[in-house]
Amino acid sequence: MNRFVLDPTGERTVVERTLLDRPPSLAGRRVGLLDISKPRGNVFLDRLEERLATDGAAVQRYRKPTFTKPAPVDLRHEIATQCEVVIEALAD
C-alpha cells in the first residue's frame, strides 16, 4: 500500500541566483561597509576602510540598528543603490 505523509516544510520555491563576477580591482569602486552593531565591529571596519582607501575605493559606512535582527529593508535598499560591493562585518 502506498504511504503518504504531508510535507512539514515551508515548501518554498528557492530562487536560484548567480553571484556577480568578482571585480578585478576595487579602484574607483563604491564599497559599502555594514557594521552589524556587534561590539568592536567598528574597530575591524575602521582598519578595512583604511586598506580599501589605499586601494582607491570609495568607502561608504552603514550600520544595522541591532545585530540580533536582519537589516531593515530600507537599509538594504540604500546599500544596493549606493554601492557596487558590500562587506558585512561580524565581530566579538
Binding site: N2, R3, F4, V5, L6, D7, P8, T9, G10, E11, R12, P65, T66, F67, T68, K69, P70
Partner: protein, 477 residues
C-alpha cells in the same frame, strides 16, 4: 483529492438508523407510520422491514450531517435542519413528528447507539475521505521499503528524536483541536520568513506527538514568538544557549493535563514535552532554522527540544501572565527567551528577607555576576519557597521590589578588571550603582512539587529592543 459534496437532506422527516442497534430495532415498526419520512440505514439495506430505506453505504449522509447517535430523527424545512432528537425520547419524537400517540407501547426513554460514522475504527478514514480535500500541503510518498521513522530522519525533518509520521488522517484529527480554519495564516516564521498556516503547524504538532487539544497552545506559542518583539530570528541565530521557554497558565492547562507540580520542568508529561517541541519543529521545518545553519548556538541547551511547563493553579502570588497584564482565570502563555534552568537551594530560610537575599545572590550570577541590565530572568518559585513569602504576607510586587533592592550592583565591583576578571562594564561606571535587571526584566512563575525548599532560575538573552522581549498571549480555541 476532492472531498465528496455533502449530500443534502430532503425536506420532511429524516431518520438515520442501523440494524445492529437495539433501540433502532425497537422503533423500526414506528417508521412506517411516519408519512413521507426518508429513512437512511447505515448497515443493512433490508432494514427496517416494510420501509424503503436508503443505504448510507459510504456514511456520507451520516458524516456530513454530524450524526453521532442512532436513531437520529431530523425535521428538515426548505433544505435546512429545523429540529433533531437522538436515541428514543418519546416526548421528543412526538413533538418532532407531530404524531401524538407515537410509541404508546414503548418505554418513554431508551438511549441510542453510536453511529457508524463515529466508530473509532472508521472515523479517521472517513475524515480523510470527506475532509482531506482541504489539506494543501504537498503529499510525499514513502517508498515501499522505507522505514517510516527512518524516512523522516532522512528528509531532515526531525529534531534528533523520532517523530510521528504526519499522515493525512493524523493531521485532520489534529485540526479538530482548533476552531481556526486550516488555511488561516498564523505567523511568518523566521529565518526564511515563510507564512505558516494552521495546517503546517498541525503537521508539526502531529510530528511532535501532541494531542489535538494541545493545538491551540501550539498555535498561540508560534504567534507569540514570530514577531519583532520576541524576535525568534535573533534567538535562533545567537551563539548563546537559548530557546523559547513557554510558561502556561489558566484552567486549560489542567484540562489538557499539563504538569505544574512534581518535575514540572522535566520529562514525563506529554503536553509539556510536546507543545514546546512542536513550536521548535515549526521553526525548523517551516522557518528553515536549523543548528549549524542559522542556529549558531555555541552550546545550545536540552530545553531547545521542548521547554514548556504550566504554573501551579494554587499559587499564592498569581501567574506570570497576570504580571504581564492578562486576567488570572484566562488561558494564557508567555514565551521567554531562556537558557536551561538552574536550582537555588535554600533549605534554612524561614524569613522572607533571608530567602530574598538567597535568591538575589543567585540571580546576580545570571550569565555573569559582573554583567548588569543586559539579560532578563524568570525565577520559578517552588511551593515551599512560595510558602515562606506567602506566610509573611509578601505578594508578587513586594517580592519583586525586595529582590530588586538586593540586586543593586556597585560599579566598583563590576568594572572591567575588578576582582581580577577582565569581563565587566566600562571603567567609567566605577562609582555608579547599576541594577542587575532592567525594570520589568525579572519575572516570577510558580511551579514544582510540594516537597523541596528550592526554586529555579531561567536566565534570558539580550533583552529589549536589541534582542528579545517576553511576549504574553491569551490562548483561544
Amino acid at each position: 483529492m476532492v472531498a465528496p459534496v455533502a449530500p443534502a437532506l430532503p425536506d420532511g422527516l429524516v431518520v438515520i438508523v442501523k440494524e445492529e442497534c437495539e433501540t433502532c430495532r425497537m422503533i423500526a415498526p414506528l417508521l412506517a407510520r411516519l408519512r413521507g419520512a426518508t429513512v437512511y440505514v447505515q448497515d443493512d439495506a433490508g432494514f427496517p422491514a416494510g420501509v424503503e430505506a436508503v443505504l448510507d453505504a459510504d456514511l456520507a449522509v451520516s458524516w456530513h450531517h454530524a450524526v453521532e447517535t442512532v436513531p437520529t430523527l431530523i425535521r428538515v424545512v426548505n433544505g435546512v435542519e429545523a429540529e433533531r432528537t437522538v436515541g428514543w425520547v418519546r416526548s421528543d419524537w412526538r413533538r418532532v413528528t407531530g404524531v401524538e400517540d407515537l410509541g404508546d407501547d414503548l418505554p418513554p426513554f431508551r438511549p441510542g447507539c453510536g453511529s457508524m460514522s463515529v466508530d473509532p475504527d472508521r472515523v479517521d478514514g472517513l475524515r480523510q475521505r470527506f475532509e482531506g480535500g482541504r489539506l494543501r500541503s504537498r503529499r510525499v510518498e514513502l517508498a515501499e521499503l522505507e522505514d517510516e521513522f527512518e524516512a523522516l530522519f532522512d528528509r531532515g525533518w526531525t529534531d534528533g528524536l523520532p517523530v510521528v509520521a504526519p499522515t493525512e488522517q493524523r493531521v485532520l484529527a489534529m485540526l479538530d483541536g482548533t476552531s481556526r480554519s486550516s488555511d488561516e495564516i498564523v505567523a511568518t516564521v523566521a529565518p526564511d520568513l515563510v507564512e505558516a498556516t494552521v495546517e503546517k503547524i498541525a503537521i508539526a504538532a502531529v510530528m511532535a506527538g501532541c494531542r489535538p487539544e494541545y493545538l491551540p497552545w501550539v498555535l498561540t506559542a508560534v504567534e507569540a514568538i514570530c514577531n519583532d518583539e520576541f524576535n525568534i530570528h535573533g534567538l535562533l541565530a545567537t551563539t548563546m544557549p537559548v530557546g523559547p521557554v513557554i510558561v502556561c497558565s489558566g484552567p486549560g492547562t489542567v484540562k489538557i493535563g499539563m504538569n505544574s507540580g512534581v518535575n514540572a520542568l522535566g520529562q514525563g508529561n506529554r503536553a509539556n514535552s510536546t507543545i514546546g517541541r512542536a513550536v521548535q519543529l515549526v521553526v525548523r521545518n517551516v522557518g528553515g532554522g536549523r543548528p549549524g545553519g542559522v542556529d549558531r548556538a555555541a552550546h545550545g541547551n536540552p530545553g531547545k527540544l521542548s521547554f514548556c511547563f504550566a504554573e501551579r493553579p494554587d499559587s499564592p502570588i498569581g501567574t506570570l501572565a497576570e504580571q504581564q497584564g492578562v486576567a488570572g482565570d484566562v488561558d494564557a502563555l508567555t514565551v521567554f527567551p531562556g537558557e536551561g534552568p538552574r536550582c537555588v537551594v535554600d533549605q534554612l530560610s524561614r524569613r522572607p528577607e533571608s530567602l530574598a537575599s538567597s535568591l538575589a545572590a543567585c540571580l546576580r550570577t545570571v550569565h555573569h555576576p559582573k554583567l548588569p541590565l543586559a539579560f532578563d530572568a524568570i525565577v520559578v518559585l517552588g511551593p515551599e519557597h512560595l510558602r515562606v513569602f506567602a506566610d509573611a504576607g509578601w505578594d508578587r510586587p513586594r517580592i519583586l521590589t525586595e529582590l530588586d533592592d538586593r540586586l543593586q550592583l556597585a560599579g566598583d565591583e563590576i568594572v572591567r578588571g575588578a576582582g581580577g576578571i577582565d569581563e565587566g562594564v566600562p571603567a567609567d561606571l566605577a562609582g555608579a550603582t547599576l541594577p542587575k535587571f532592567r525594570p520589568g526584566g525579572l519575572l516570577l512563575a510558580s511551579a514544582g512539587g510540594g516537597a523541596g525548599l528550592f526554586s529555579a532560575i531561567i536566565g534570558g538573552w539580550a533583552n529589549g529592543a536589541t534582542g528579545s522581549t517576553p511576549v504574553t498571549r491569551e490562548v483561544r480555541p
